[in-house]
């Protein structure tokens, strides 16, 4: 049975367990003189039986579904004759895709070697066996555990306390998933990054000024040595983020100031949601806009005044990214400006300062730390932004500060290195994870600093 159908079946069993538990608690209570002689309401006995039935079965189902693919792959590889067992992970994945193509009928078995055709049959067989075992096991676990839970219903049993403590544990594990996710991120990038640094030295990666991630297909190939120096990517990311900030910070900040200090309620209620709309537009749309409208416009404009501009200029990507970040900056600064106590404002105005003087000399300095925190968060968003740069910035890793030239960024390289077919142990693929690790660390650092500043600032006026 497919996992999805099995899931539905398990849920049906859970409902049945609930009904049976409910009925049993009532029938046990009847001879005693009604449900007031039960320790808990019948609902809780039913819920307890349902939890007993559902939790182990769903755990088994999830674990089986998660690991069956890998286990089957290993079994299939293991069943191959000794001389065909692949020696590297890359070769293994190639072989596996061939086998599964044969198994799915995309590749006729006559076109491949006999052992592969056999392996494909074995794969089919293992898959159907796995499905069968999974179905049997999940149903058995659900029925058995549900039956045990049902059997142990007694009028004196405090079903409510049990149900509540189970629920509390479920809630806790949902919250702890956040930790698991972080750990997952750290492990998945750290592991591959470690393998990458076994191939390429750390110093070359951090301080190298050449980025050309080719790996040789043959040993005697020209330019077999790929260069993995991240400085051009780093400067490219910074250049584009800097341009984005040049657009986003003044526009975002000034509009936040205008909206919070000058605009009346009606204007605010119209303009604010419209600014927020900029934040809700998917990044792929911005990328489309940058690549197909802004970039040609900029290169035409530059050509008309006699400057040479690339058709994938950093300016286009950065400028559009700036537009995307405007609402981010403006809503954060808005919060910060509003948090400045009214007394400061009143004091300054009472001394005869104009509104703009109050803003510039009193409120802005008071809000500056908070605004800085907001800007740092915006920077971290800019360096992690992917789609705009993938579509509008180039692939050429130039070491330049000229906004009209093409630069590439860390995120662009991650996407380019990881889309399409790949071997999992080539330096090229691993480089993407190393870049991911750098990106994760950089944004994490920025976020931690920014959140600290913002929090400190808030405490100051609380």
């Amino acid at each position: 049975m497919q996992p999805a159908n099995l899931l539905i079946l398990t849920l049906a069993l859970v409902v049945i367990a609930y009904g049976l538990g409910y009925a049993r608690s009532r029938s046990l209570a009847m001879p005693l003189g009604g449900i007031r002689h039960l320790k808990s309401l019948p609902f809780y006995y039913g819920a307890r039986a349902a939890l007993w039935c559902g939790i182990p079965a769903l755990l088994v189902l999830a674990l089986w579904a998660a690991f069956q693919g890998k286990v089957i792959q290993m079994l299939v590889i293991g069943s191959l004759p000794v001389d065909m067992i692949p020696d590297s992970e890359g070769a293994a994945s190639l072989l596996l895709s061939k086998i599964s193509n044969v198994a799915s009928g995309a590749l006729p078995p006559g076109f491949v070697d006999a052992p592969i055709a056999q392996a494909a049959e074995r794969l089919q067989e293992l898959r159907s066996q796995s499905r069968l075992y999974m179905t049997a096991l999940v149903i058995a676990v659900a029925v058995l555990a549900g039956f045990l839970g049902w059997l142990r219903i007694r009028p004196r049993l405090n079903a409510r306390a049990q149900v509540e403590s189970i629920l509390k544990w479920i809630f806790f594990s949902c919250a702890a998933l956040a930790i698991l996710t972080t750990v997952g991120i750290i492990f998945s990038v750290a592991f591959e990054t470690f393998r990458f640094f076994q191939k390429i030295s750390f110093i070359d990666f951090i301080f190298g000024s050449q980025w050309s991630p080719q790996t040789a297909l043959r040993a005697d190939q020209v330019a077999a040595e790929g260069a993995f120096g991240m400085i051009p990517l780093f400067t490219g990311t910074l250049l584009i983020s800097f341009i984005a900030m040049l657009v986003a910070v003044p526009v975002g900040l000034l509009s936040a100031i205008y909206l919070s200090e000058y605009a009346n309620k009606r204007v605010r209620s119209i303009v604010k949601p419209m600014l927020e709309m900029l934040a809700g537009i998917p990044t792929v749309v911005y990328g489309f806009f940058a690549a197909l409208t802004v970039a040609p416009f900029i290169s035409d404009l530059a050509a008309s005044v006699g400057i040479d501009a690339s058709s994938q200029s950093a300016l286009a990507a950065g400028g559009v990214m700036g537009i995307m970040i405007i609402p981010f900056v403006s809503s954060l600064s808005d919060d910060v400006i509003n948090a400045v106590p009214q007394t400061l404002r009143d004091g300054s105005l009472a001394l005869g300062a104009t509104q703009s003087e109050t803003m510039k000399k009193v409120i802005f300095p008071a809000a500056l730390p908070g605004i800085m925190g907001g800007v740092l968060l915006a920077v971290s968003r800019a360096i992690g932004e992917t789609m705009i740069v993938v579509m509008a910035a180039g692939l050429a890793a130039n070491l330049t500060a000229n906004p009209l030239e093409t630069v590439t960024t860390v995120t662009v390289q991650i996407v380019t290195l990881l889309t399409g077919d790949q071997e999992f142990d080539s330096a090229k693929t691993l480089a993407a994870f190393a870049l991911g690790a750098m990106l994760f660390l950089a944004t994490l650092l920025l976020n931690v600093i920014a959140l600290k500043i913002v929090r400190k600032y808030r405490e100051q006026y609380d």
Partner: protein, 424 residues
Amino acid sequence: MTDQLSQAELVRKSLKRRYRKERRFRAYGIAAIAIALSALVVLFADIVGKGATGFMKTTLDLQVELDGEMMYLDDATDERQLKMADFVEPLVQALLKEIPSATESDRDAVADLINPYASVTLRDALKENPEWLNTTRSMSFLAHTDVDVYVKHAGDDAYSIKLSQQQQRWVDQLVEKGIVETSFNDTFFKNGDSRDPSKAGILGAIIGSLLTMIVTLALSFPIGVAAAIYLEEFAPQNKLTDFIEVNINNLAAVPSIIFGLLGLAVFINLFGMPRSVPVVGGLVLTLMTLPTIIISSRAAIKSVPPSIREAAEGIGASKMQVVLHHVLPLAMPGMLTGSIIGMAQALGETAPLLLIGMVAFIVDVPEGFFDSATVLPVQVFLWAGSPELAFIERASAAIMVLLAFLIGMNALAIWLRKRLERRW
């Protein structure tokens, strides 16, 4: 010191300058807002301008003579014969009849006006209605993409017209006769992706997005709400709780592409799950949207006044009963609003899905959670990268569909908030 101006005089003299500064400052603010809003307007205008024609298709209305001899077909119910038969010839002959100036030697040039898939349409029609053989039928076929581009964008410099001068004259004649027509592009909503722009549609991407969103919603909403309840109501004040909170706040700011790396390393390489399937996409997007949902759900729980809790506790409800019977229903509108906004984010997300292989070229409309699929924003990305302008037009149209979904979801969130949220 009479020649010195008094303090009051000084202030008065500077007033004009200061007021000017004030006005200038205000103008800066207005200019900033104008820049932001005009960017929004230009963006929308650009997309609509580029994509409006994507909702139109160009068709040829032809009187097709289904001559069995010409098609090498004498029994339309025979599968083998259908496979071998020539379905191009009747179309070309029908078109040649409509263009008096074209001779038999122009045959190839005329044939190039017809969409390569038109013969498939004809075959399918004949398969369904075998009795049509040896009759003349009036049918409508897709025109070739080059004709489509010419009809829609004849005067536009951005588009390169690939038709020859002669072909252009023919098409002009056909337009006049009403044979070449543009109508609403239903193909766009009925098909999956295709190499031929005229035949490419977004149904596959929409279904893929829908399946992915179902997985995301089914996982992230319950988990997010449960986590929020735990953190707001049950979590003890200790290091572990602090650590969880720090993690959630940081995950909310982690770039989305990192979640793609996580999905690639864990779900695909560790668990051996298949690439480019909605389940894996949904799992990755779940992890990505969870912080958003948890944060907004916590805010919703916080906004329930303590008096509700105290009243329930006062009549003997347990902590769990207080939460499940009273706090949760009251916080639900806020949680739903936050989740819809989180879902809207997930629907527009592209980067992590690129890494788990949802960028493959997939023609078939996915039928289940384990079928290879792509999603709407990725489809936009794929078409936007195509050198053919006819695809750019489709990409803009797909963006409009995507934005329509997003605006709909956000409108629903706002409506829910207005309708259900209570002020205490």
